[in-house]
Amino acid sequence: MTDLTRLTLTEARDGLKAKTFSATELTQAHIASVEKARALNAYVLETPEHALKQAAASDAKLAKGEAGPLEGLPLGIKDLFATEGVRTTACSKILGNFVPAYESTVSGQLWRDGAVMLGKLNNDEFAMGSSNETSAFGNVVNPWRRSGSNVGAGAAGSIEGSYLVPGGSSGGSASAVAADLCLAATATDTGGSIRQPAAFTGTVGIKPTYGRCSRWGIVAFASSLDQAGPIGKTVRDCAVMLRSMAGHDPKDTTSVDMPVPDYEKAVGRSVKGMKIGIPKEYRLDGMSPEIEALWQQGIAWLKAAGAEIVDISLPHTKYALPAYYIVAPAEASSNLARYDGVRYGLRVPGKDIVEMYEKTRAEGFGAEVKRRIMIGTYVLSAGYYDAYYLKAQKVRTLIKRDFEDVYSAGIDAVLTPATPSAAFGIGEKGSADPVEMYLNDIFTVTVNMAGLPGLAVPAGRDSQGLPLGLQLIGRPFDEETLFSIGQVIEEAAGRFTVPERWWA
């Protein structure tokens, strides 16, 4: 039999419907694949028994012709999504052995539609990071290697050589999808955490419009920016996943009460006559010629598909990242105040309650999380609120206005590179200056600041053979257009699959 883990989500769906294989067989194949890939450290918790139980239930439903849209399809879940009865940690020591008594709305909708959970996926601690190097469970390994690299499987399930990061914060999700350790994965994106890891691993990821997916039951980082979305092997797979993940939820007052379209219908729709904006502010000084060439290639493909290319200006682009590093830490410092050693997770005793809080948080949070809480606390402290947080929120209005202006001038979507480079090596960035790591999100963070949808799709390779991604930015709640354009790029560029399972 062919290797079922190599199928895309939609191919597997069609195979189940045609009874070419069963959900149990499909799940078993993935469980075996996950077991062999422990060296990649993509999963922080494997739930094979849970998966097989769900698969058996799916087989019964498939036999009765009652299959849901994701019936019997094995997925990985980022460890930021609360899963009832299954440990959820946000990859932080401070949550310890937290076992939620409830299910996040988004994951609950996946199970409603028949999906199977293989386990919980690694991420940067509280989703704060761009390389998955801040997780309490250790680094995730990118299944891609530079050509001629010394990376290989070491003894006893270890990795030899200096491997590449998968990006972050959804590094486990991206690595698992790229290495065929699940058919698709859930992820979250606050400043680029879906799109940057997707670009680093040759996978597709979409951050939907803010409000499209419920945030209820997802460990909060920065509430005005956080949004859930899928990482998948193809544009079509992401469209199918998003349809199940999206939708109104009365438990999240920022979730929007609008019908969820059948996104898959948008895949393959013509882009003829669409106006694609090319923002000049994304052409950075010192940008690698490879990224410029990738961008030009994307422009050429869309032109060939009948789209009209329009040069545009988004003048406040350069202020998005600095404004983000006020807004996100400020909201994080407030959200993470709940981890105090009282209601859940780690507690370190102290001589009084304040010392208990201080010791618990010192021990439970990692260095990056502490830094951001401190920055957030500072910018919100008495006398600084107006100068920092309020100012940053005003800058957000200007960033959003830039996009509104081009959309009202008839632009359907904006095309940019997804990241300033391909995946980098472990330990290569941010050790001396945290800002060096932050610059990874320079192309993605504007989208969160403006609340818009953004899709990352692999489109080329760098000189070392690593995948590079393009980003499409859409109008609010117009994810469909992104899927249509994304499909054009995918068809022109082809899929980017890892050449060899060197870890297994």
Binding site: F98, I353, Y378, P434
Partner: protein
């Protein structure tokens, strides 16, 4: 704007994070790198600009003012490091 050591110490206490004296200078450097980076915003004129509050203007949803959940104290304290009779236990706060 940059922060001095005393400010770093004060912020750590406000954030309820114990920071050993020896780590303060490193943290100070990192915080100042970030604050230096965000200083670029000084170039932006925001006179008359409203702060952004939502992507699409929408009215805050209201629900009926009725009890819709509860009687699950045991599940709420299930993850507590220390609990007794469905109460969270903390060190003595009031003498």
């Amino acid at each position: 704007m940059s922060v001095d050591l005393a400010t770093v110490k004060r912020v750590a206490h406000l954030a309820r994070i114990a920071v050993p004296e020896s780590e303060l200078p490193k943290l100070q450097g990192e915080l100042n790198a970030i604050l230096g980076f965000v200083e670029q915003l000084d170039e932006v004129d925001v006179t008359g600009i409203e702060p952004m509050t939502s992507v699409t203007p929408m009215a805050m949803a209201q629900r009926a003012d009725v009890v819709n959940d509860g009687e699950i104290a045991d599940r709420i304290v299930a993850n507590a490091p220390v609990s007794e009779d469905d109460y969270f236990m903390v060190p003595k706060v009031v003498e």
